[in-house]
């Protein structure tokens, strides 16, 4: 079942075009990886799906991006509600300089998801458990989030994203700032999360894409070169450029 459908998406930064006619289908409850060399537009496309490109003044998005028949690239869209439903994890972990508890409670608070302290405690615990962080921090929920290690911080950010029960989670190179062990923990987490959430992950590590995703899209210079089953993309891609990238001839 298609969760997100993009048709002829073109993105401009001022007069410079960054994405050309992107059309793609993201399946629900699946991990879709977006790969490609630096600067090819994959992060830009990712950010279209939760309208984070709005934050950049000179960015202009044309085309259609639909989630379950809801047009995302429309002025009438309530962006605040969208982002409650589409979460994002960033490349560099960015926990708020608040306590661990407050970090997780932030989303539910502003969206009014908890009516009482007990409900909030429950949400915090559930989120941290799902992010495989609960055991490590359950005794120090009122410590400052920025005091955790890199890997823990990123899991905290994932827990924060989960706290509002989004249907989709977008991940922008979530492991690039982490060591191999933390990376492995997060990949395991992603595998677990896909049972309940649709995940789109941008990664520059092909091995990671091969490990965690079911579908992969290869971007190059703003164009979607090839998209399909991960296994196919990596074993026998249709497109020569894809083949060259996979085998390391460039990028």
């Amino acid at each position: 079942m298609n969760k997100i459908t993009a048709r002829d998406v073109n993105v401009f930064y001022g007069s410079k075009q960054a994405l050309f006619d992107i059309s793609i289908n993201i399946q629900e409850k699946e991990v879709t990886a977006l790969i490609g060399p630096s600067g090819c537009g994959k992060s830009t496309f990712l950010r279209c799906m939760n309208r984070m490109n709005d934050v950049i003044d000179i960015c202009r998005v044309e085309g259609s991006i639909k989630m379950d028949d809801l047009e995302l690239n429309s002025n009438k869209l309530d962006v605040v509600r969208l982002r409650e439903n589409v979460g994002m994890v960033f490349q560099k972990p960015n926990p708020f300089p608040k306590t661990i508890y407050e970090n997780i409670a932030y989303g539910p608070t502003i969206h009014g998801l908890a009516q009482s302290k007990e409900e909030m405690d429950q949400i915090v615990e559930t989120s941290l458990k799902k992010a495989a962080l609960w055991n490590e921090v359950k005794d120090r929920l009122d410590e400052i989030g920025t005091g955790l290690s890199g890997g823990q911080q990123q899991r905290l950010c994932i827990a924060r994203a989960i706290s509002v029960s989004p249907e989709v989670i977008l991940m922008d190179e979530p492991c690039s700032a982490l060591d191999p062990i933390a990376t492995a923990q997060i990949e395991e987490l992603i595998d677990d999360l896909k049972k309940e959430h649709t995940i789109v992950i941008v990664t520059h590590s092909m091995s990671q894409a091969a490990r965690v995703s079911q579908k992969t899209g290869f971007f190059h210079l703003g164009k979607l070169i090839e998209f399909g089953e991960t296994e196919k993309i990596f074993k026998n891609p249709d497109n020569q450029q894809t083949q060259d990238y996979i085998t390391g001839r460039f990028g």
């Binding site: 984070m52 934050v55 605040v80 509600r81 960033f90 989303g107 950010c157």
Partner: protein, 458 residues
């Protein structure tokens, strides 16, 4: 004579440059130079002039007091206080120089002769010493040149010391401030009890004014209580902050988070203009327009309002401070990493929620620091208060009354007749040192808060 000496030193110093350079060119014919010829010139010139100038300066600084002590040692037996001693010495000097038209006693005559004697010896000694220094240093330097020693390094070392001395200037100024304030303040506290000053609630120095002789100690006790001034200072600063903080913070936030590039480009410099207007102009505006306006409104509402209300002065001071808070908050908020903002927006927060719940708390130490600096500015502000608020110390929390501040009282105390031995004049210095310490305290805290905040995000 001094002029002649200085000119001599400078002339010699100047001409030895050419001399040294010429010598270098001579040496060049037989040996390799260790540096460009001009450095030989500089070397000779520096060695010629600098030692002599230093000795000259030291001599000029210390000679007068040494001479004075020598002369006045004759008067040790007599019971004269400091002022009278000073007066006597002035008379002696005047008599010696032929400018005295008063009563000439034997004592004065003897002292005057002694003065002439001592001064004569001192002047001669000065000339001899300086001339010998000139000769010695010149010959030393010249020998050095003849031996073709390294020339550029000593010159550069000298330059470095010159730069170092310049940088001491800031320290000297601070020392100057502390000492000049402390000196007079200590004298003040010899006449007025520290306790009465800090805790007294009645400030009325005028009533201690006595033409000759010393004021009655009883009067002194009750005339220099600085509490109304402390209260007035912080009260007006408080009113100013009530105006400046909301407007300054909100405009700072708006400029950094909401405004388009154009608005920011024009609005920010225009608001900065408020900071560039001299405070005397604000004072005039407050006295001429705001004060009467507040009085009218207040009267119309049935209140008793002074034309020089604390409200008027505080409000205008607040307007002056707006750009401080606005600019600093703007900078501090802009410095919060974009990463944090993105994290909040991605959670589906609105802009105001992001600002209120994430950005502002993150920027808080920096903002608090900027507010403290602004308070420090308000506390130290003088002209607005002098012109728009009362000059009579009044202990009150009613903003419609007039009150005075530490700074205004310093001006008031020193603007009339000043005598340096008078507790009234000295009180200004006591107030001054209090002010200096308070603002120092605020600044130190503010700077350390801002520093800690910067460390978090660097």
């Amino acid at each position: 004579m001094n002029l002649v000496l200085i000119s001599l030193i400078l002339l010699l110093g100047f001409s030895s440059y050419f001399f040294g350079r010429k010598k270098a060119l001579v040496i060049q014919s037989s040996q390799r130079l260790t540096a460009l010829p001009k450095f030989y010139g500089y070397y000779l010139s520096i060695w010629c002039a600098v030692p002599a100038l230093i000795i000259f300066a030291l001599w000029s600084i210390f000679e007068p007091s040494i001479v004075k002590n020598l002369i006045l040692s004759d008067y040790d037996g007599q019971i004269l206080n400091k002022n009278e001693l000073q007066l006597t010495y002035t008379k002696i000097k005047a008599l010696a120089l032929g400018n005295y038209s008063g009563n000439i006693t034997n004592f004065l005559d003897n002292s005057a002769n002694k003065y002439l004697q001592i001064k004569g010896i001192a002047d001669n000694a000065k000339i001899v010493i300086i001339l010998s220094i000139l000769i010695f240093s010149l010959s030393y330097a010249y020998k050095s040149i003849q031996k073709n020693n390294r020339m550029r390094e000593p010159v550069e070392i000298f330059l470095k010391w010159l730069l170092f001395t310049a940088s001491l200037a800031a320290v000297l100024v601070t020392i100057g401030i502390v000492f000049s304030l402390l000196f007079e303040a200590i004298r003040f506290f010899q006449a007025v009890q520290f306790f009465d000053f800090i805790f007294g609630t009645h400030w009325y120095p005028a009533k201690t004014f006595v033409r000759d002789g010393q004021p009655d100690p009883e009067l002194l006790k009750d005339a220099f209580g600085a509490v109304p001034l402390f209260a007035g200072t912080f009260f007006i600063a408080f009113i100013a902050m009530c105006v400046a903080i909301p407007i300054g913070l909100l405009s700072g936030i708006y400029l950094s988070e909401y405004s388009g590039r154009n608005v920011r480009k024009y609005a920010k410099p225009i608001i900065e203009i408020l900071a560039g207007i001299p405070t005397v102009v604000y004072g005039f505006f407050a006295a001429l327009t705001v004060g009467p306006f507040v009085k009218e409104i207040g009267n119309a509402m049935g209140f008793e309002v002074s034309a020089e209300s604390a409200l008027a002065a505080g409000a205008v001071m607040g307007v002056m401070i707006i750009p401080f808070i606005s600019s600093l908050s703007d900078d501090v908020i802009t410095a919060v990493p974009q990463n944090l903002r993105d994290g909040s927006y991605a959670m589906g927060a609105t802009k105001s929620e992001t600002i209120k719940k994430v950005i502002f708390p993150a920027a808080l130490p920096g903002i608090v620091g900027s507010i403290l600096l602004a308070v420090s500015r308000a506390v130290g502000e003088t002209m607005i208060v002098v012109m728009a608020s009362g000059l009579a110390a009044n202990l009150t929390i009613n903003p419609l009354e007039s009150t005075s501040t530490i700074t205004a009282q310093i001006v008031v105390t020193l603007i009339g007749d000043q005598q340096f031995g008078d507790p009234k004049t000295q009180s200004a210095f006591a107030l001054g040192i209090t002010l200096f310490l308070v603002t120092l305290f605020l600044n130190v805290i503010a700077l350390s808060v801002v520093k800690k905040y910067r460390e978090k995000y660097d």
